[in-house]
Every structure is written in C-alpha cells, then in structure tokens.
Amino acid sequence: MLASKVARRHHNGVLDMVFEPRRGFTRMPHVFQQPPLKASRELYEGNDPTATVYVMESSGGMVAGDRNDISIRLLPGSKARIIQQSALKVYKSHTGETCVQSIDVEVAEKARLDWMPEVIIPFADSKFQMETTIRLEKSATFLWGEIIAPGREMRGEVFDFSSLKSMMKIYVEGELLAFDSLHFVPENLHLNGLGLLEEALYVGSIWLVSEKADEIDLRAIQEAMKVGDGLRAGITRLSGNAVHCRFLGVNQWRLQQEMKRVFSELAALI
C-alpha cells in the first residue's frame, strides 16, 4: 500500500535523429538519445543507400506519466527505414497519469522515410496519448504503418484500458492533408457497436505520400486484399498525392500479415 504511494520518477525518453546523404549512402550523423529510447547504428542491405535504423525502448514499456519524444529529420535526398524493435507496451496507470508519445517527422525534398508497422499494446487501466505530426516537402516520399491492439488479448485483456487517444497529422508543404484522430474510452463507448469496430479488435493504418501516388491502381490493390474471416480492409485516396489504407481485424497475426504484404507492395510502387 505504502509502496504504491512512493513517487516514481517519470521516464522521458528522447530520440532525435537526423539523416543525410553522404558519399552515396544515407547516414545518421546526428543522433541524440535519452533512455529509455535508443537507436541502433545505420544498417544497409547490399548497395541500397537506404539506412535502416532500429528504435529500441529499453524500459520494456511506458508507465503512468512517462513520455517518449521522437523526432526524425530527413535532409534532402536521404532515405531511411525505421523499425521498432518490439511492440510498444503501455502499463496500467496506477497514478491516473497519462503516458504520452510524441513523434515529429520532417521529410525534405527527394527524401524518403519508411516506418514499418508495429503494435501498440495498451494494458488494462492504462492511459495513453500519441501525437504524430508529419511534415513533408512536395517531392518527399513517406510510407508509415501502425497497429493498435485492444490489450494483451491472449490474457483475455480486451479494451480494458482507461483511454487511448491517437492523433495523426500529415502536412504537405504546410497544408494539412489528413488528420486521423481516434479517442477510445471503452467505459463510455461500445466499441463493438455497428459502424464502430464491430467484431474487430485490432486497428491497422497505412499512410503513403508520394509523387507517384497518382499512378497507383487503388482498385487493383483493394480487390487483391485477402479479406474475410474476420479481416476487413479499405484503401482510399486522400487529397494531394496521398493514399490511406485501414485494416480492422479480429486476429492479430492475420491483420499483421496482410498489412505487411500491402505495405511491401506499396513500398515497391513508390
């Protein structure tokens, strides 16, 4: 009883990464990291100039009031792929405080960022808010994926979190192109209602911005999607050179497999 009242110091993970092209490869010459956030060094696949960087969270998860601030800046002509090492776990908010994850991304002309889809797992009684702001120049390329879980489903923890707020804003040349804002408070909201999530437990999103977006045949992608059996998916064109894809699924593995397939397909087209 007493132990739970002892004030715990909040973690404030900080990760600032800057990418730029140097001698034919994209390098990460500037990186600032404050635990529990950490970035790997740049990795390369053969002669591909794209820098792959793993983002790690050494604490194992966010606890009441913790913050993660990530900023990613791609200078003109650079190419980076960012992979989260594991799912992001948000623990029970024993103090009532909200965990906040803020991600700011800037992609300059002719630069490209791929952020691979990982899962966010809000545990029972957790409070989580994530704010992702993307600012792109006109000729920038951007591909982003993320998945929200209902909790630790295998333990029977389904929408037992207190609140989850997710805001995604995409600006191209200063103009707001897309604003996706979810605010789930399961206590006040029957998420399984008609028109809400219905039978789905997992929400997946893919965002794409590219000068080649106009050439993508969305109908072909929609019709090739392996839906049914608890998985629904849709693809649509946002204003400007952007595409959005949403997945609602009952089964995590199935949703993730299909999302990864669509993600790779889109990655190859842009």
Partner: protein
C-alpha cells in the same frame, strides 16, 4: 425521458430561440427536397446494406446512432459550431483553418467529395437569397477555387449571418443529416415508410442528446471513432452497382 426534457429545457434557456422567420428558413434548407443532393449520399451506409448488415429497423437505428454520435458530433457538428463563431467574429483566417480541417478529417475520398459537393450546391442555391458582404466574400473565394467549400463550414457561416443561434443550427443539421440517412435506407434496403418514420422518431431523441454534447465541445475534441462507417465509405468506391454517390 424526464432527463431528456430537462436537458433540452436547459439548453433552450441558454440558446436564443429562433424567430418565426429563422425557424422557417431552417425548415426550408433542411427540407429533403432542398436541391443540394442529400438524397444521393449514403456515407458508406450502402456498403452495409449490400453486405446485408442493415436489415431491420433496429440495425438502421444502431447504424444512424453511431454515425450521429461518433462521426457527426465529433466532426461536422464541432466544425459548424466553430465556423458559426468565426463568422460572427468575421474571422476569415479561422474559417480557412476550419475549412482545411474539415477536408483533412474526412479520410474516405467519397465522404470528402460529398462534403464539397453538398457545399457547392448549397452555396449555389442560397447565394441569391443572402445579402451579406462577409458571406459574398467567402462565396467569391470559393468561385475562384481558392477554397473548396465544405458544407459544414458554409452552413455554419450561413446560420451566423442570418443570426440563427449555434445550438439550433447544430440541432437542425444533425436532425436533417440523420433523417437523410433514414430516408435513403427506406429506399435502398427497402423499409416500409412506417419503419422509417418510427426509426426517425426514436433517433430524434438521440439528436437532442447529441446537440447537447456538441455544445460542450471545441476543436480539440475532434475525432472519429466510427471506423466501421469510414471503412465502408472507403469500400463504397469499389462496389459494382450503386444507388448512391457515397
């Protein structure tokens, strides 16, 4: 029901009751025959109908209730309220911000296009009837393609320049949006006229509650939890045979 009456009385105390002519103006622009094309939009409902997910009156009410509480309340209704305030303050920069936001929150292409199509039809229809310099200036910017012309924003401006209170503007907008969906479902499912009338009678009470919620919300509350509706709107584009544009 008692709670509901208490709530609505409460709001009537703070909101300026429309004058007779304002009341009639609202009735006219929300008439289902008002030529802005409401009857051509289903906002994804047609996908549900084709998937056989709306077969009963209760399912129709459930769908409309989600659309009302999770989409309209936290989207268009907040924007109408904010646009109303901005137009009262004669603040075109704020309106421009709201206009962009209105397009950005509508991720499904067809729903976004519907918002602009309704807006453009609306301004075309009412502009000969409105005499207001601020309104004209906004109209000119739409005609010059400087502004897209989303319906919710234009409607908020229209109500503000006609001195129609924000609460009644939102209340009647929510009612007519839901009523439009019910009418379209009656034709598309199809339902008998009585089922439609009964569904709307029940939903009207929810509209009152919804408008009460909107009064306490601002721009920071904008969200869209109706992911099923949104996904259906995205998929609608690829249906083979369609009665509706969205």
């Amino acid at each position: 029901m008692k709670q509901l009456n208490a709530d609505s009385n409460n709001l009537s105390n703070t909101a300026a009751i429309p004058t007779d002519i304002q009341f009639l103006r609202l009735l006219q622009i929300h008439d289902s025959a008002f030529p802005i094309g409401t009857y051509t939009q289903s906002y994804g409902m047609e996908t549900y109908i084709q998937e056989d997910a709306i077969r009963t009156k209760d399912e129709l009410i459930a769908f409309c209730s989600t659309f009302l509480h999770q989409n309209l309340v936290y989207g268009d209704a907040i924007l109408i309220q904010e646009a109303h305030k901005a137009a009262e303050n004669r603040d075109p920069n704020r309106l421009l911000h709201l206009e962009n936001l209105c397009g950005a929150i509508k991720l499904a292409k067809e729903s976004r296009d519907a918002s602009v199509n309704l807006g453009r039809q609306f301004i075309r229809t009412i502009s000969p009837l409105v005499e207001d310099a601020f309104f004209d200036e906004w109209k000119n910017r739409i005609n010059a393609n400087e502004i897209k012309g989303h319906y919710a924003i234009l409607y908020g401006i229209y109500c503000a320049v006609n001195d129609i209170d924000a609460h009644y503007s939102v209340l009647s907008y929510l009612f007519s949006s839901v009523n439009g969906l019910v009418q379209n479902a009656v034709r598309a499912v199809p339902f008998g006229q009585n089922a439609g009338v009964q569904a709307m009678h029940q939903l009207a009470e929810e509209v009152v509650v919804a408008a009460g919620i909107v009064a306490g919300l601002t721009e920071v509350d904008i969200s869209n939890n109706a992911l099923g509706v949104e996904l259906a709107s995205m998929k609608h584009e690829y249906l083979f045979s369609r009665l509706f544009i969205s």
